[in-house]
């Protein structure tokens, strides 16, 4: 019997997993590593580990390889932790892996973006199990009242990596990859304080998350985990506001699935205006505070 396991690192992952589980058309279970799974996932079983934090990849891939091998698909939300752990799991199980799945075409065929989203590839896999990471934007959840059986689960942990320190910055804002509103800033924001005041101010007014370009991160204006783009976070909010962002291919790769894109930039020829639903040619230091005030 064909069956799906979705590995969820935290509660936000379990929320994002619902749509993919439904789209799979197969019965699915959730393995919940930390926190508790969201309500109404529609999963048949939720294996809950209740860990305070998830261990390094070698421990997780070792534990998962026995647990997961009977499943047809082993999936996770496309993010850094799932790519770290699930690709190692694919190596351990010697099975096929497809990263960043956009859609399920059939039992063994999926689509995914390549070259910074410039091209969509249709990929066929030749073996089961298949390890997948999926982009959440393609898998909208339908409400379900199907109850899940919650099972407390324990692993025997084996690994050699030691975690020396962990620095998790949340700041009380919603998770960037899953926020309904994202406000992003680029290099013109000058420094950390200005970035936080202007971009953070508008984001907080809208109850949204904060994002940044690679240039803003590289110049130390914004924290690394805020980077949006090909090699950073992929976002798909209802509203994406880009302030002082010219719109490199790499940045665009991370925002294309947003429902509405707003661009605020002084340069009327900036490429971001080609993809923006609404473009405002104005100095962001005037427009963004005005927008924050008037909302």
């Amino acid at each position: 019997m064909s069956r799906v396991l979705i590995v969820c690192f935290d509660r936000a992952d379990s929320l994002a997993a619902i749509g993919f589980g439904q789209a799979s058309g197969k019965p699915f279970d959730i393995l919940q590593l930390t926190q508790s799974a969201a309500e109404g996932t529609g999963a048949e079983k939720i294996y809950s580990l209740g860990l305070p934090t998830f261990p390094p990849a070698d421990y997780l891939a070792n534990a998962l390889s026995d647990f997961a091998k009977e499943y047809t698909w082993i999936a996770g939300v496309s993010n850094m932790r799932s790519k770290d752990v699930l690709a190692r799991l694919a190596g351990k199980l010697d099975c096929a892996m497809v990263t960043d799945v956009l859609s399920i075409e059939s039992e063994d065929t999926f689509t995914r973006p390549i070259v910074a989203g410039a091209i969509i590839a249709t990929v066929q896999v030749h073996a089961t199990p298949v390890v997948l990471t999926f982009r959440t934007s393609g898998f909208k959840a339908q409400p379900t009242d199907k109850a899940s059986e919650v099972i407390e689960h324990k692993f025997d942990w084996q690994g050699v990596t030691k975690r020396l320190s962990e620095n998790s910055r949340g700041g009380g804002r919603p998770d960037l990859a899953q926020a309904k509103v994202v406000v992003s800033g680029g290099r013109p924001l000058k420094d950390t304080e200005t970035f936080e005041k202007v971009i953070g101010g508008l984001a907080d007014k809208l109850g949204g998350a904060v994002g940044a370009t690679r240039a803003a991160v590289d110049s130390g204006i914004a924290a690394n985990e805020l980077q949006v783009g090909q090699t950073g976070k992929i976002v798909a909010p209802d509203l994406y506001i880009a302030a002082g962002i010219s719109g490199s291919t790499q940045h665009m790769a991370g925002i294309k699935d947003s429902k509405v894109i707003v661009a605020i930039n002084t340069d009327p020829d900036a490429p971001i205006f080609d993809v923006a639903d609404y473009g405002l040619v104005q100095d962001l230091f005037e427009a963004v505070p005005e927008l924050t005030d008037k909302l």
Binding site: D58, M80, R88, G91, M97, T109, V123, T161, D274, K294
Partner: protein, 246 residues
């Protein structure tokens, strides 16, 4: 200590590429090729480690067609000591690459492997982790700082919510992210000078077949063109009409 560093030949990451008309591949007409930018960061890191510790030997490896030699020459010019080219025109996916690299590891016995976290053509982010699993070595992906400490290596890595520092016993695999370093610029004379450094040609050592096949490539759906607004007020009313703000 020997560092193995991987070098993939990719289409120029800053070029605008499109699929061939029949969807069978990427149209590379007039497009340049380069080292995968993340692999370039991996090579740079190996060279910087060698600048701190003269006992380090750097071996660069590339798997692919004859032209990969160009990228290996660049790695040698950056400071790698030796290059290995596994020359093949076979279709490759991450699992084939990992299987071939595992053979190179047996032969070269490196203490550590640096790889780009992903290649900018396929954007997979798999090969390093798959190889780590095959070798049963610990891994640190998305590395932003690397410090060797006797028989261990401490790696600061970027995470979804910030960063963490891992300590791993050697041998280990590290995949490199943007913030690790900025690769040095190599002028053409440097690449020519590196011609005296050894570049070994090898054949594939496994018959591992790809576990995935790309059936077709196509352009993504285009976003419909938007419009310019003249003021913040006009923007607010447009967003209200679309129902994305209240």
């Amino acid at each position: 200590m020997k560092i193995l560093v991987t070098v993939k030949r990719v289409v120029d990451p800053y070029a605008k590429v499109k699929p061939l008309a029949d969807g069978s591949g990427i149209d590379t007409t007039g497009v340049k090729f380069d080292i995968n930018p993340f692999d370039e960061i991996a090579v740079e890191e190996a060279v910087r480690q060698k600048e701190k510790n003269a006992d380090i030997e750097i071996v660069a490896v590339s798997i692919g067609p004859a032209e990969c030699e160009e990228q290996l020459r660049k790695a040698l010019a950056m400071g790698a000591d030796k290059a290995i080219h596994v020359e093949t025109n076979d279709p490759l996916d991450s699992s084939v690459v990992a299987a071939e690299l595992a053979e190179i590891v047996k032969q070269e016995e490196p203490r550590v492997i640096f790889m780009g976290k992903q290649a900018t053509d396929n954007d997979h982010n798999q090969a390093g982790q798959i190889l780590a699993a095959k070798l049963d070595w610990p891994q640190a992906t998305f590395a932003s700082n690397i410090e060797f400490d006797g028989d261990r290596v401490n790696v600061t890595r970027e995470t979804d919510t910030g960063e963490e520092t891992l300590s791993m016993p050697l041998p280990a695999i590290i995949t490199t992210d943007l913030r690790l370093n900025e690769p040095r610029y190599i002028a053409l004379p440097g690449i020519i000078k590196a011609r005296s450094k050894p570049l070994e040609k090898q054949e594939r050592k496994t018959d591992v077949q790809p576990k995935t096949t790309v059936l077709k490539l196509e352009l993504p759906p285009e976003r419909p063109a938007g419009r310019k607004v003249e003021s913040v007020d006009e923007l607010i009313s447009a967003l209200k009409d679309r129902g994305v703000i209240e």
